[in-house]
Point group: C2
Chain length 116, copies 2
């Protein structure tokens, strides 16, 4: 991950509404959540939500797919993991024990879809 991407991602997450949205999507898993449901859950005006979804999307932290009239948004786990890796990348210079970057394994996440 390049520095500019990390900054963009961090900036996207450094805002209450977006952090809420992102975490909601992280919880939701790969199945995602329709924009309308996000708006309802977080009590956000559609224009406001749309603005923030766009920020997260541009930051590469979320993706979306259309399903009929709804746009389903989902967390981009690879991007999140990349960001965390970037943040810890130079930690523990020698890089031996005590320095890992394991986070969310999307393969495992797929199995949590039963929640929907």
């Amino acid at each position: 991950m390049e520095k500019i991407d990390a900054i963009t991602a961090l900036a996207a997450l450094a805002q209450e509404t977006r952090l809420d949205v992102f975490r909601l999507l992280v919880q939701a898993g790969a199945k995602g959540v329709p924009a309308g449901q996000i708006a309802e859950t977080l009590s956000l005006p559609s224009a406001t939500l749309s603005f923030h979804l766009n920020q997260l999307k541009n930051a590469g932290l979320i993706n979306f797919r259309r399903e009929s009239r709804s746009l389903i948004y989902a967390a981009e786990y690879a991007a999140m993991n990349g960001l965390l890796a970037y943040l810890t990348e130079n930690c523990c210079q020698g890089g031996k024990a005590g320095c890992g970057t394991v986070v969310c394994d999307t393969a495992v996440l797929g199995k949590t879809e039963e929640a929907g």
Copy 2:
């Protein structure tokens, strides 16, 4: 970690200069780096550096100690780990394998001081 703390930390890191400073400190390890040396390394005017160090400090991401006339800044690994944990906290709801938050172990970092 509370939401407001996570936002503050993310906002502090979502800025090129501060991200550079933070990573520099993360690399430096527990021994830290004097403000003047940070300024020189990153070619920053003292006022600008001071401003950003203050942001990072307020965010709890770095700490400092005085050593004679110098202020030695160092990464607050616990805060960084806390932030990463917060970000991944609700990921993999069931929370089994594939979802970990291992990052920087300060105990290990202490042993890298030989680099200075």
